[in-house]
């Protein structure tokens, strides 16, 4: 029962669920350059799915293939059960919010939003009603008679959103939806987007290069690199259990240590790292042979920093010297020299106010770094 309820929120875990968007072996080549390289993807109804990656990783090309602006060199795309290769953009049940917004500069806000409905031959009275409802939802009613160039960036972005949503598409494609907004507006809009998605139940596919945006928005993230998916999973999975060094490094930051497996038990693994000299004790078994070269990733916020030696000695701790302190208000970041060449980044929440100018840990302090056996992630790639 509870398992069933769980899977309603996470259809990707249900083996019987029918994906809403199905991408099968899709490749896109531009001349000799392969933008998207034989990818498979299933996106389920009502998901807020993020394609995340650096520039040139193929995420936008994949989105444009879903919209119909690019034709796959090979492979097939299904949307709601229908094969899309012969369907032109103007007949697809998807709408797109463009990175540049692509608002029609010669039309007012109202006319921009009504454009898609007019093309569908919706009755005039219905158009007026739906447009005004939509403008109300994005809080642009007072600006309905303005032209796009008379609006601020945030307002334009909301017009673009309203224009794409008013047709009630089955899928909404968003290309860097928050890219052009300042930080404050971004955060606000992020939550607005999530609310709208919740209200309307439309499947969202978002392209972004901003990992923070992807983390807060999405139900699932696909991390892309060089035209392939590196990892697909929930924000928690991607952050806490990255599959590769690329993902660990791309999402958040991670301290990376290179070492070898020296002990492989049923319920634990020990990895020895040479610089700095540490033994990592990991509290779960792994199917890796002893002696294999591995990388250990530890997130900066998972490391405890203290001037007092931990009570237990042994694994999962090192000593070092503080090279630098970055005081960010809510937290501080420390750069700790812990080996001959290794600098470890640590972030620590400032839970108590410093007395005067003295911080608990300061420049040149000798400190002990330690972490839980469950905090480190072993990576083989």
């Amino acid at each position: 029962m509870s398992q069933q309820a769980d899977n309603q929120d996470r259809p990707w875990l249900d083996p019987d669920a029918e994906p809403f968007i199905k991408v099968q072996g899709v490749t896109k080549k531009f001349g000799p350059f392969t933008a998207v390289d034989n990818v498979d993807l299933q996106i389920y109804r009502g998901e807020l799915f993020c394609l995340l990656g650096g520039s040139g990783c193929g995420k936008t090309t994949l989105l444009r293939m879903l919209a119909g602006f690019e034709t796959p060199t090979s492979g097939t795309i299904y949307i709601d059960g229908a094969e899309m290769s012969q369907v032109p953009p103007y007949e697809r049940p998807v709408n797109m919010m463009f990175q540049s917004y692509a608002l029609f500069p010669h039309m007012t806000v109202e006319q921009n939003v009504a454009y898609g409905l007019k093309r569908d031959g919706v009755a005039k009275a219905d158009i007026a009603m739906r447009v005004s409802e939509m403008l109300k939802m994005v809080e642009l009613t007072p600006f309905s008679k303005r032209k796009p160039h008379q609006l601020s960036g945030g307002q334009r972005q909301r017009v673009a959103l309203a224009r794409a949503l008013v047709k009630q598409p089955k899928v909404l494609l968003l290309d860097e939806p928050l890219g052009a907004l300042d930080k404050r507006l971004r955060e606000q809009t992020q939550f607005e987007l999530m609310n709208i998605q919740d209200q309307l139940g439309i499947t969202f596919v978002v392209v972004t290069h901003d990992q923070e945006e992807a983390m807060t928005l999405s139900t699932r993230i696909a991390v892309m690199d060089e035209g392939r998916f590196v990892q697909i999973g929930t924000p928690t999975e991607i952050y806490e259990s990255p599959d590769t060094r690329f993902v660990a490094d791309f999402i958040g930051s991670a301290n990376m240590f290179e070492g070898r497996i020296v002990e492989n038990g049923a319920d634990h693994v020990v990895v020895r790292v040479s610089d700095p000299r540490i033994e990592f004790f990991i509290d779960h078994g792994m199917s890796i042979k002893e002696g294999t070269k591995v990388w250990i990733a530890v997130r900066p916020e998972k490391i405890k920093i203290s001037k007092n030696a931990p009570t237990e000695s042994g694994a999962n701790q090192i000593q070092g010297t503080v090279l630098g302190v970055g005081y960010l208000g809510n937290l501080s970041t420390y750069r700790v020299q812990a080996g001959s060449a290794k600098v470890v980044d640590v972030t620590h929440p400032n839970q108590s106010r410093p007395k005067g100018d003295r911080h608990a840990v300061d420049w040149d302090d000798q400190v002990y770094l330690s972490w839980d056996p469950s905090s480190a992630v072993v990576l083989t790639k």
Binding site: F69, Y90, M96, F98, F104, H106, Y115, R119
Partner: protein, 320 residues
């Protein structure tokens, strides 16, 4: 005490000196500004407005046999009084003689049809150039401009050779057996249209190109995404957004086409009445400068109307 006073005077003098130089500097600067803005104004005054008034003055005179062949506008009488002689006869003559009225109508008709033809030919060419890759784009633009490197007159003569009864086109058509007798093309209205469209189509293409170059292609994608078929996208997005280019190009073709002399003279022969030819005849054959000047003034007024309309639309667009 005294010292202090002297110091105060000194200080005030120095500060007034400083303010004086500041004012002087400002004067010089604003002088430069006036000069920079003034030069084009003087240019327009000397080379456009002054000739216009001279022509206007001639149009209000009477044709006499003298040199120059028109009566003076202002004259000292023998009693020493100043006589201003304004004669509107020339304009009344233009209005009363059907020849001139018909010629104006015909000129404007030919100019309008030529403009539309230039638009039909030029629009797809401009669009094609904008959409092609940057190397092809440069080659295509060069090809549009290339004919200007040959004299305009020479190009019109070339068309005479192409269109004549024994010309290249007719010879070719007879040779391949499509026709037996040559088709009459030279000295018809058709030849005039060919000549005007050929000569003026670059003036349509270039402003259209400049306008389309700024077109954001993602707007086409947005329209398609919202359900517009290619034709609808063209009518609702491309066409309204290129309207300024269409307007600019049309004016650049319409205005010179309406007053064209060489093309109707060489390609139309005596069969095509255009105002440019009439003007030429009045000046050179009839030697009636005042009537010729009146013809020119009326033509100018006819052409100023679309110009002002254009200005009006432009300023309205700038406002919104």
């Amino acid at each position: 005490m005294n010292d202090n006073a002297t110091a105060a005077v000194d200080r005030s003098e120095r500060s007034s000196m400083r303010s004086l130089t500041a004012v002087l500097m400002q004067r010089i600067q604003s002088g430069w500004k006036t000069l920079v803005v003034g030069i084009p104004n003087v240019w327009l005054l000397v080379f456009f407005l002054a000739p216009f008034f001279i022509v206007l003055k001639i149009s209000l005179a009477e044709s006499i046999i003298a040199s120059p062949p028109f009566s003076p506008l202002v004259e000292w009488s023998e009693e020493g009084a100043l006589i201003l002689q304004v004669i509107f006869d020339n304009f009344i003559f233009l209005w009363e003689d059907d020849l001139y009225f018909n010629t104006y109508v015909n000129s404007i008709k030919i100019a309008i049809i030529s403009t539309v033809l230039c638009l039909i030919v030029g629009y797809p060419i401009a669009y094609g150039i904008v959409r092609s890759s940057s190397t092809t784009k440069n080659i295509l633009l060069l090809m549009i401009i290339l004919p200007f490197w040959t004299s305009f007159l020479l190009r019109v003569y070339a068309w005479m050779g192409l269109l004549a009864d024994q010309g290249t086109i007719n010879s070719f058509l007879i040779w391949i057996g499509l026709i037996e007798k040559p088709i009459r093309m030279l000295y018809t209205e058709f030849a005039v249209y060919v000549g005007i469209v050929y000569s003026y189509v670059p003036f349509m293409i270039l402003p259209l190109y400049a306008n389309m170059e700024k077109l954001d292609m993602s707007l086409h994608e947005a329209a398609a995404d919202l359900g517009a078929r290619p034709m609808t996208t063209f009518l609702t997005v491309t066409l309204p957004m290129t309207a300024p280019g269409i307007l600019a190009g049309s004016l650049l073709v319409f205005i010179p086409a309406a007053g064209e002399f060489v093309i109707p003279d060489l390609l139309g022969g005596g069969n095509v009445l255009m105002i440019g030819r009439v003007l030429y005849n009045e000046f050179n054959s009839n030697h009636d400068w005042p009537v010729a000047a009146a013809v020119a003034i009326v033509l100018l007024l006819i052409l100023v109307i679309p110009m002002m309309l254009y200005q009006h639309i432009q300023s309205k667009q700038a406002e919104s």
